[in-house]
Subunit: 289 residues, 2 copies
């Protein structure tokens, strides 16, 4: 099975298995809308690629880890788009969840997706329950109050913030969880795997900052110019456009060295290069060369 | 140790152990504010009372279950008070979280508390990890998309809703989780324990509906008349004030019969009666007699 099909299937199954007769129709639709069709699914793809490279023995646990991470990513987008944050009318080229379903269902959709992420992990881990506590800890940390997305987003409410810390919390943490959880799902020590995810996350975030200035709103499916308009910390604001491009190149150059020894290292290296080469559109990458 | 001291201590320790150098100060304060000082802490007290009656062998797991349930309750209050829902200026006699800290930190506080609830459970269960999956399942169900608080709140966005189903989701589910998780934390089959929690939840919800009509805003620490103003399903709207009082009496009369056989049944019976007798202020209870 193609990896993207695998990601879509485990997301569908996770949501389907949590449907019930008491699920309100509006919430049910809003949850579907928030998760499908998705974006690049980069985090779950990386998670599955790491699990595969580590010699996964329980694919259903890797599936759940990947799904859990993507659900938390979707939850963060829904809440991040809310009027009190970015007030974004568009996401993935169509109305954001609160524009399509109202603000109340958008808040609840985010909440439901967070809960669902932990349920998915728990159910899948029944064949190797000793892996569950570590997986929950890895994934909870990456979204929580002191080292995860929530912390990153809350730094936007502070008068001053260190750019690198902010980007690590808001973006790097979930990428680090993707690589660490991929390893832990395969029964492998996750610690050496965090640096790979952090570096992929850094590259991704720098590109996100570049695209917010130099990208195309239609291609991106969301408005541009938001970092400047909202005063968000941004690599481009701190380093300028060319500085940000050079930073991207230097992070990219070191990424594959971060892959720890594992049975499928060559295969993983190829996948990481393939995924991260898609980050920056060719037209913008050429400028940096 | 007094049970309320025990509840406060485990909430304090749970939050403290999740603090870190990257936790933004505003979010940190808002989380503290959302959890302390608390209300009656009725759900965690019931959870601990059930664990005790079941002969708890790992008090740290009961503590975490109780803390987890209370954190989820606090999260639901913070999100429920948001402008897009009840737009409540007051909670527990002082400004609600979004009034004190702004809407963005209120959304993030709720999100952080949900994540923290699952982290607390996971860490505490290290001494009896075989109990973790069941505890997560019980607690996640009680807040999730098809049988928990989120579902209950989302039914408020639907044109029609069955009152009993709505109350079971919005209130009963977390009370049922409190009794079931108390049993599961003690290594006892949780299924027979759900009915007790559901019934305590019903009694609590009817009283909440009565107080919204006949209570005192200052004593309650929140505005009254909200169910009518917002068109929320309510026992009083459906049965009238006297009908609701009679319904409360009939639920109360059957509560102690729902306590399954267990070593500390007599002690638990006394505690359940004591806690639930505080639900309805004497002035209002007399009317019903």
């Amino acid at each position: 099975m193609d990896v993207i099909e695998r990601v879509e299937r485990c997301l569908e199954e996770t949501i389907e298995s949590n449907r019930g007769p008491f699920c309100p129709p509006g919430l049910d639709q809003a949850i579907q809308y928030a998760v499908f069709p998705g974006g690049a699914r980069i985090r779950p793809k990386i998670c599955l690629a790491v699990a595969d490279a580590c010699g996964e023995d329980h694919p259903e646990i890797s599936d759940a880890a990947a799904a859990s991470i993507e659900l938390l990513h979707c939850a963060s987008l829904v809440h991040d788009d809310l009027p009190c944050f970015d007030d974004s009318p568009l996401r993935r080229g169509r109305p954001s969840v609160h524009h399509a379903f109202g603000e109340r269902l958008a808040v609840l959709t985010g909440d439901a997706l967070i809960v669902l992420a932990f349920q998915a992990l728990t159910r899948a881990a029944s064949r190797a329950p000793e892996r569950l506590p570590q997986l929950i800890e890895i994934i909870a940390r990456s979204v929580g109050m002191h080292s995860g997305i929530v912390a990153g987003q809350a730094w936007e409410c502070e008068p001053e913030v260190n750019l690198a810390d902010y980007q690590q919390l808001k973006t790097g943490s979930l990428f680090a969880a993707a690589t660490a959880a991929g390893a832990a799902a395969a029964g492998v020590d996750p610690k050496p795997w965090r640096a790979l995810g952090e570096n992929i996350g850094s590259a991704y975030q720098v590109v996100d900052d570049i695209l917010d200035v130099a990208g195309d709103a239609e291609q991106l499916g969301k408005p541009i110019g938001q970092d400047e308009a909202r005063g968000h910390p941004s690599s481009v604001r701190e380093m300028g456009l060319n500085g940000a491009r050079r930073h991207f190149e230097s992070v990219m150059a070191g990424i594959v060295e971060k892959i720890p020894p594992c049975p499928g290292r060559a295969r993983l290296k190829a996948r990481v290069m393939e995924e991260s080469s898609k980050f920056l559109p060719a037209s913008l990458a050429e400028h940096a060369a």
